[in-house]
């Protein structure tokens, strides 16, 4: 095919048009703008102490989500590459690897995370960095199998393309073929999609686990001593009252004003969680549709 650099066509498409026409980009932009709007709104209407706690909870939850994405992608990549290039060479190593993967698969994710809290209470010092990294590690471990399966699947699919064997037969290192040609050049949308899903799932699981372990604690405390997450905030009595206040709208619609100005702590924590999940769902769907990814 001849390529015509149709500059006139290309130029007419502004960045804004591009963002608006692509669902994944549109929702990414909406997520960022929505988050900024929440922050400004809460800065105006929440009292200083509650606002700073809410902001810190958002930051801590997202930080753990991001670290979980980075670590789980790394674990999945190490497992898949190890399986492909290393473990299969030694039957004991191979058996050990599959035993580990089967074990990881068989334990529900929420259980892995709750088990991960135990060392936080008993063994670690109070260093927030070590504790945050440990929690991110536990979260990532619970998602590592998903990434490992995604990467293994991509390698298996790519082996059916001629270029894999063609490159191998030219003496090109298999690790290079997998890392560059299979993953970077042919699987990036799949991995980005997986990263979005892991981020949202991490936020949700972390919030759920923190909610469970925080029930009954004084509002200013967390069990681990780490900064509060959305789960800690939602577990407080004030937040629950805020959320229960939603029912008042059905009796008096004008109560909405009160809800959005005086019951903000619980409402905004719950809304941030739901908004994150919906945005991730739409971004992922948009990416799947646009890049025509296989399920």
């Amino acid at each position: 095919m001849r390529i015509k650099t149709a500059l006139n066509i290309n130029n007419s498409k502004s960045l804004l048009n591009k963002v608006l026409s692509r669902k994944d980009l549109r929702w990414s932009a909406l997520f960022v703008l929505g988050l900024l709007f929440f922050i400004i709104w809460n800065a105006i209407f929440l009292n200083d102490a509650a606002f700073s706690k809410w902001l810190s909870a958002i930051a801590q939850t997202y930080l753990l989500g991001l670290l979980s994405v980075i670590l789980s992608l790394s674990f999945g990549w190490i497992f898949a590459l190890g399986e492909e290039l290393l473990f299969s060479e030694n039957k004991f190593l191979n058996a050990g690897f599959y035993l580990f993967i089967d074990l990881l698969k068989s334990i529900p994710q929420i259980v892995i995370i709750l088990l991960g809290y135990i060392p936080l209470f008993f063994y670690f010092d109070n260093s927030p960095l070590v504790q945050t990294l440990w929690l991110a590690f536990v979260l990532a471990l619970s998602f590592a199998n998903d990434v490992y399966e995604e990467i293994s699947n991509r390698i298996a699919v790519s082996k059916n393309y001629g270029f894999y064997n063609a490159m191998l037969a030219l003496g090109i290192k298999e690790s290079r073929i997998i890392n560059r040609d299979v993953l970077l050049l042919n699987s990036a949308p799949y991995l980005i999609n997986r990263a979005v899903v892991i981020f949202a799932s991490s936020v949700f699981l972390l919030t759920s686990a923190d909610f469970i372990v925080s029930v009954g604690l004084a509002p200013q405390l967390t069990l681990s001593g780490l900064p509060a997450t959305l789960g800690n905030i939602l577990a407080t009595a004030t937040s629950k009252e805020d959320i229960l206040a939603i029912r008042e709208i059905f009796a008096d619609p004008l109560y909405l004003k009160e809800l959005l100005t005086t019951h903000l702590q619980g409402i905004s924590a719950a809304f941030a969680l739901v908004f994150t999940l919906i945005s991730a769902y739409e971004i992922s769907n948009g990416l799947v549709e646009r890049k025509k990814l296989n399920a």
Binding site: I3, G171, K173, I177, L185
Partner: protein
Amino acid sequence: MKFSVEILLDDLRKIEIRNLEFENGKINFVFGESGVGKTLISQAALGLLDEKQFKIKINGETYSQYLSALGVSEMIKRSFYVFQEPSAHLSPVMKISEQLNEGKIKEPQEKAQIAKNIFPHLTKKEINRLFDVYPEPYRPSGGEKQRVLNLMAFFAMDKLSFSTAWNSLFVFDEPTGHLDVPLRNAVLSELVRIFVKDKPTVVFITHDYSIVSFIGGKFPDLKDFFNYSEIYADGETLAQRKFLPDEYLKWISSVELLKTKPRKTVLKIKKRIEVYGKTLAFLNENKTETDAVLREGEIIYVKAPSGTGKTTLAKILLGLESANFEAEIDGIKLNGKTSTRVYKKLIYGKRLAIAFQHADEALNQNATVREIFEALENIDSGSLRKSFELLFGEPLENFSGKKIKNLSGGQKQKINVLRALSVNAKVTILDEPLNGMDLESVKRTILLLQNHIKNGNSIILISHNEDVFDKIIPNKIYLKEV
């Protein structure tokens, strides 16, 4: 017939050609690199493209205006398109015989004769048995399906009368790509035999220039009914130019044997190979079984009819197909039990390299040209640049940022061949290296092969293109199922 066609594929890619001309009442052979857009243009002319998928303009009109014009709609009714990939045309839910019967023909005997002419090795009973199947999934073979599709076109052409033939268009898009030379010639002969009856307009798209030798030699009296042209990239658009068969014939008669200085033996394959329950044997020029031997600085041409297993042989040597065989390459013994670790450590890229037949599959479509060559270890970048310029007539820098998927089929194939040769393995296997190339590229590739063996490297060459390779390679070996 004259067409000016503009097809907008997406925001950035566009195929455009002005005044594409097919002479009425002639067989128009259209050559050119594969992938430049010949197929899409001809499919557009016959109304086979989806207007929802592409934005199309023909002769200044929108696609629906063009298709609804009286002359065009009448022409399309009487026309036929032979697809390059026959499975795209054959219905998987109808037996082949039922699909063939859809086109009525004047005389039933004539129908049987046409079938017999393009299936020369089969008896009438065998032909009927072949047609009594659904074309999915493994039977008939690619070559058989291609001939079935040609048969449909021949039946439709035979149905024409003098009064209807003038406004009909028969497009054959690479209709012999899956056939070996004798079968290709049988199809071509049949096409000419049926064509001369009512002389419809025929377009025969191909990159197989050796057709010129056959047609010129076999039908000298009909030369006025053959028109030859080439479609080529002219800047951002496509253009058509006359192709002079005499120039090709003059070139092919002047091509010389590649100069070889064979030294010590580098590869030896035992004379028999067992694969998938069948036995393949190497035969020498005297048709007696022999071991296949290749020496340093030598090129060997492996010849066999379609479907014998030439590509399979390459895969067996590379340990990509399991088979019972014995070979020795530069001191390393290979057989069906050689481990993958040995291949990865000692064979791939060092003693053996390959350019697989289909560049579309062999190259990562999302990689850039630079990335394709960067992946190779320890290559001499100076010599790569020289070879690239020899092959493309342009410096590597002009192409290095381009993605493979945006190149034409011929350009992809040249990169595929150059990548395999750049590795400088002791032996390089080239499987159909001229696939999709235009004549200029063919000439340049031959020069590249000459340089490669001059440096003491060896080549195993697999190809249907006997017209060229019989001329340039003295050392031949035949592969046969025994």
